[in-house]
Structures are given as C-alpha cells and as structure tokens.
C-alpha cells in the first residue's frame, strides 16, 4: 500500500523518535532501549521470576510496528536483505557468517557497555549521561573506521554511487 512514501524523511522520523523517548520516560521512567528488551525476552524464555514482562511486549511491539510501516509503505516481500553485500558479489554463505559473527560481537559489546544505539545513543545522551556520550562517540567512531577498512579491503564501498544509490557489479 502506498499510504506512506518508501522512506519517511529524517525531519519527521527524528522528532517522532524524540517524542517516543520522552513519552516512555514520562510514563514509566525508563529508557526506550533495545538491548535490555532482548535481555528480558531471554529471561522470559527461561521463565525467570524477575522478568520485566512489559519489556517482552515491547520487544514484540518493535517487530509488529516494523511490519506495519513496511506494509503501509514500500510493501512487504520475502527477501534476503543485505543488497549492498550481494551487489559486491558476496556469496549468501559468506554474508551469513559475517552477519552472524558481527551480531555476536555487537550483542556482547552492548551488554558490556550497558546499552546500544537506542539506549546509549539516543536515550543516554538525552539524559546527559557522560557514560552514554562516551559510549556513543566510541561506537560511532569505531564503526566509521571499520567501515572504511572494510570498503578499502573488499571494494564494497565502490558500489555506492555518489548520489547514494547502489551500483551494479561491473
């Protein structure tokens, strides 16, 4: 359904996210983080008695909200994802291994740092937490350096054209 454009512009989605952050603090005094919701969902799966139940609903809500925006916008279709990697000629197997190992490192790092892109990057910085600002600066800086190294070594980056569109493998 073309009710939404394929991509809502940042000047709408940015403030919308900001309002959600403030809203959850006003209602529950809690950050709009994601890694903590994974932890609670894991606890629920283990039937731990100290599970925070609403974080599990929140975890499921992210999934449902994403589906809704996709259906109303560019449309749902089953696909692999990671088009830029495919365009660079990476095999599905290599892509799967890279994504899997990277996600393990990411999960471990998020738990060690006490938050992720939403928890530290938006909610922590908005709380004016020095720890969150330091964590955010570190992960953004590291990600830029790692991306630079990755694109230099593999040519992955050459496939993004100057207008931001993705090129085709020559």
């Amino acid at each position: 359904m073309d009710i939404l454009p394929d991509r809502l512009p940042w000047y709408i989605t940015g403030p919308a996210l900001g309002v959600l952050v403030v809203g959850l603090f006003l209602i529950a005094n809690q950050p709009l983080g994601a890694s903590g919701a994974y932890v609670q969902t894991m606890k629920a799966a283990r039937r731990d008695t100290d599970t925070v139940g609403w974080r599990v609903w929140y975890f499921g809500g992210i999934f449902v909200g994403g589906l809704l925006a996709t259906v109303l916008g560019r449309g749902f279709e089953w696909r692999r994802g990671y088009d830029a990697m495919s365009a660079a000629g990476w095999s599905p197997g290599v892509m799967a291994v890279v994504v899997f190992l990277a996600a393990i490192i990411m999960g471990y790092g998020a738990r060690m740092a006490g938050g992720c892109t939403s928890g530290h990057g938006i909610c922590g910085t908005a709380q004016r937490s020095p720890a969150s600002w330091a964590t955010t600066a570190t992960f953004v800086g590291t990600a830029i350096v790692v991306t630079f190294i990755l694109t230099s070594l593999t040519g992955l980056g050459d496939l993004v054209m100057s207008d931001g569109s993705l090129g085709v493998q020559p």
Partner: protein, 153 residues
C-alpha cells in the same frame, strides 16, 4: 500496574519499530551508506531525536515531574568507565559489519529480510555470553544508562 504497562510497552515498541522501518533504518544499505558518509539522514535523524528529547527531559527533570508508573522522573548519569569504551568499540565493530543494531534487526525481519533472523540470533548469543561471563566472575554490574533499570522507591 502490570497489565496497563504491558499494553503501553507493546505500543511504545510498535511506535519505535514503525519509525525505524519508515526511516529504513532496518536496511543494511542505509547503515552502510551512513557509515561511509554517502548519506547523512541517519545522523540527522539521531541528532534531531536527541535535540528534541534532551531539552524536554532536562526541563521535566528540573520541574521534578512525577511519571505515571515510575515515581519521580529520575535520569541516570553514570561516570565513564573502561567497560563503556571497550563495549562501545566492540559494539561499533559489530554494527559496521552487520549493518544493523538490536531494534532495527527486529524490524528487518518483519520487513521480510530473512537475514535479520541471523542478526537477531547472533545478538541473543552475544548478550548471553556477556551475562554468563559476568555471572562466572561473580561480580555484580549495575544496569547501564541505556538499559532497563530497577527503580527503587
């Protein structure tokens, strides 16, 4: 408190997931292009989200606002420690390679991109590995500023 909070949690999760998918933050290509400065939308989005919430939270905190279910609004501001820097560097490495992070990975699956399931599985394993390591070391780690926190009232 338990039941209304479940519904509220579900709604906030849905709103969050909706924004992430509408902004295409759940696409590897978006994150990859951002990190190599081929587009600025994600940085602008994050900047505006902080730009809206930081001053509002500041004012609400100064006014001593009482939240609906969580008592008086209390923002957490921890000092910088080694684990923030090491964890942040590891997180950034994974973020760059997987091109997604915990919340967008969920919205990636529900947009139909099946490799999102690999990312979410890996995230669960990584989070669990850190928890297990901390448990074995028998140290207690306070909740991070970005995580769910136990409110003492």
């Amino acid at each position: 408190m338990k039941n209304p909070m479940n519904v509220i949690g579900g709604l906030f999760g849905a709103g969050f997931g909706f924004v992430l998918a509408a902004a295409q933050l759940n696409e590897y290509d978006t994150i990859h292009k951002t990190l190599r400065f081929a587009e600025w939308d994600v940085f602008l989005l994050m900047g505006l989200a902080i730009g809206v919430s930081l001053p509002l939270l500041w004012v609400l905190e100064r006014r001593g606002t009482t939240t609906v279910f969580g008592g008086r609004l209390s923002l957490s501001r921890s000092r910088i420690e080694r684990h923030h820097i090491v964890g942040g560097a590891l997180f950034g490495t994974g973020w760059a390679l997987a091109g997604t992070c915990p919340a967008p990975a969920l919205a990636m699956i529900s947009s139909g991109a099946m490799y999102g399931t690999i990312a979410v599985t890996g995230l669960f394993i990584g989070l669990w590995l850190r928890d297990r390591q901390v448990e074995r070391a028998a140290v207690s780690v306070p909740e991070g500023d970005g995580e769910h926190r136990v409110l003492s009232r």
